[in-house]
């Protein structure tokens, strides 16, 4: 096993003097140097700044107390603002943009002692399920280089899977943390809406977006979540509730845990190998004492349509700020203000972003608002009520995270609707604002990872993590993808 495999290995080695933060940082920068040419998980590697930061941590020993991520290298999805470090959201429109401020999650990671090593690739403005919509090239899946890592946070998932960082942050609007985590064989946590501040996250769909964590194991993902969670007056949607110690909730005990499985929804078309791995994991959980029960999510089949009506509407509004005036790209081909706006946006945005802005603008436009947007918001209420009803009888809901394992690069690029259907099991948690965790639960015959997703009640992130941790302990899942990593 490679050294510094877990966060506790890293912080323990530094605290005890067995390694310096600089040595840890060099180890991971070497791994990035070795693997990223073939994977392209990173858009920016801040090697010099990372080493300087690590050296600074080594000197400031008096401040180590309470630093839960002391010397831990972390990567950030490139839609999270980093002061003075390029932040593109995978878009040509923001090429070269260096934010004048730090996202709250970045401030919190630094306060916890983390070392930021770079920014990871993603679908443009987090719109996609394969990371193929990045303006800066695709990312490859470490398990099979001809396949997608999923998306939109595919760079963060691939970086953790290839052990280039022990933890990374992503954002999840309809599954953009959990689906790539599943496809790359790592853990991905989408916290409760409001649990983590979004100040400094480049907005896609504000009633759905949430920042969360990736790591190789549930305890490490929980540790990183604890570091970034909590109230922030700069994000009006952030919750004032106290943040529990998520590590303490990982007891391994699921004797009284009631796990609901929405059987009717799952028949809608999950890959047989995915269902096989899922069922075997459920059987192991039952063997550990959990109760497995059928639950109904009657409106679950509508989630994809509802989501793409609501998310695109919000995106069309959020992305109106990209007009060539205040940041990023401006067309050289305009002699009037109006033409400058229109051409900047057409030249700066990629096809998927324009498609979503068009759809969102349409469903909000006069004559269609009631029929599409308001109707979707009403069905969103019904979807929320389905979860409320289910959680009266169970503590968590289990589903495969993705209906398929990692799909070949290029397979769905020309078929947006097929790409959207990749999100069928993940979207519900966003529409209802619930916490959900994807944990690896097995491999297909072709050695592709399968993820199992636990969804819990709002603000009960701890129970979703406890279930995922128990699943991880009893899974026969081999990590990492190959000896190469």
């Amino acid at each position: 096993m490679a050294p510094f495999e877990r966060i506790a290995d890293i912080t323990g080695a530094i605290r005890s003097g067995r390694a310096s933060a600089v040595e840890v940082c060099r180890t991971f920068l070497d791994r990035i140097h070795q693997h990223d040419a073939g994977l392209h998980a990173f858009l920016t590697v801040t090697a010099d700044a990372a080493l300087a930061r690590a050296a600074d941590l080594d000197r400031r020993r008096a401040e180590w107390n309470g630093m839960a991520l002391l010397g831990v290298p972390v990567a950030l999805k490139d839609n999270i603002c980093t002061q003075g470090v390029a932040t593109t959201a995978g878009s040509k429109l923001l090429e070269g943009y260096k934010p004048p401020y730090q996202a709250t999650v970045v401030e919190r990671l630094l306060a916890a002692g983390a070392v930021l090593v770079g920014k990871t690739n993603c679908d443009e403005f987090a719109m996609g399920s394969s990371t193929e919509n990045s303006a800066f090239g695709l990312t490859r899946n470490p398990w099979a280089l001809d396949r997608t890592p999923g998306g939109s946070s595919g760079g963060s998932a691939a970086a953790v899977a290839a052990r280039m960082v022990p933890a990374a942050l992503g954002s999840d609007t309809g599954g953009s943390i959990r689906q790539p985590a599943a496809l790359c064989g790592v853990v991905g946590v989408k916290p409760t809406y409001g649990r983590v501040s979004r100040y400094g996250l480049i907005a896609f769909a504000s009633s759905l977006d949430q920042i969360g964590t990736f790591a190789a194991t549930v305890p490490d993902a929980a540790l990183a979540l604890k570091a970034i969670a909590g109230h922030d007056p700069r994000d009006a949607t952030s919750s004032p509730d106290d943040v529990p110690d998520y590590l303490e909730s990982l007891t391994g005990n699921i004797r009284a845990l009631r796990i609901g499985v929405p059987r009717a929804l799952l028949t809608a078309g999950a890959d047989p190998e995915v269902m096989g791995a899922f069922e075997r994991a459920l059987a192991r959980l039952a063997h550990e004492g959990a109760t497995i029960a059928d639950v109904a999510l009657p409106h679950g089949g509508l989630a994809v349509a509802v989501y793409y009506l609501i998310a695109t509407a919000e995106a069309s509004s959020n992305l109106s700020r990209f007009d060539g005036v205040r940041y990023g790209y401006r067309t050289p081909h305009a002699d009037s203000l109006g033409t400058m706006y229109d051409r900047t946006r057409d030249e700066g945005f990629g096809a998927e972003v324009k498609r979503r802005i068009m759809l969102g603008t349409y469903v909000l436009s006069a004559g269609y608002y009631e029929a599409y947007y308001r109707k979707a918001q009403q069905v969103r209420t019904l979807i929320r009520r389905d979860y409320d009803a289910a959680f009266e009888t169970v503590d968590v809901i289990a589903m495969p995270t993705s209906p398929t394992p990692a799909f070949p690069l290029g397979e769905r690029v020309g078929d947006p609707l097929k790409m959207y259907l990749a999100d069928v099991f993940t979207i519900g948690a966003n529409l209802a604002g619930l916490p959900a965790v994807s944990v690896p639960c097995g491999l297909t015959a072709g050695r592709l990872p399968v993820g199992l997703q636990f969804t819990a009640r709002a603000m009960d992130d701890a129970t979703a993590l406890r279930a995922a941790d128990a699943c991880e302990r009893i899974s026969a899942f081999e990590l990492p993808p190959s000896n190469a990593y």
């Binding site: 260096k98 934010p99 004048p100 809406y193 409001g194 009633s207 759905l208 007056p233 009006a236 949607t237 919750s239 409106h299 089949g301 509508l302 349509a305 009506l309 069309s316 109106s320 060539g324 005036v325 205040r326 940041y327 990023g328 401006r330 305009a334 002699d335 009037s336 203000l337 033409t339 400058m340 229109d342 946006r345 057409d346 945005f349 324009k354 498609r355 802005i357 068009m358 759809l359 603008t361 349409y362 436009s365 029929a371 599409y372 308001r374 109707k375 979707a376 918001q377 009403q378 069905v379 969103r380 209420t381 019904l382 929320r384 947006p416 609707l417 529409l431 209802a432 604002g433 709002a458």
Partner: protein
């Protein structure tokens, strides 16, 4: 029930969205948006009488704070991100608006 998505709708929406689409993009998006909207018809068939819309998942009231003057990001740092700006004058610059 909303009507079919037409090429005229596409031109109207591109105008609202401030996108100067190429003819190829217009053809592609007209087809793809029509396909998605056909898929989304299932939403319109759901009975939603007396169901309130959800615009926000927490349902929490919007918090308020005192309206106090506080330090913000330095103007020069903001202007440094702009594609064109007159830093000395403290202005963003855009193409001429009036003849």
């Amino acid at each position: 029930m909303a009507a079919d998505f037409t090429p005229a709708d596409l031109v109207r929406v591109a105008r609202l969205a401030r996108l100067d689409l190429t003819p190829e993009e217009q053809d592609l998006f007209a087809r793809q948006l029509a396909e998605f909207l056909a898929y989304a018809r299932q939403v319109q068939d759901v009975e939603t009488r007396n169901v309130p819309p959800t615009s926000h998942p927490t349902g929490a009231a919007c918090p308020v704070r005192d309206d106090l003057v506080r330090p913000s990001i330095e103007r020069d740092a903001v202007l440094a991100s702009a594609p064109e700006a007159d830093a000395a004058a403290g202005l963003f610059k855009v193409p001429r608006v009036l003849g």
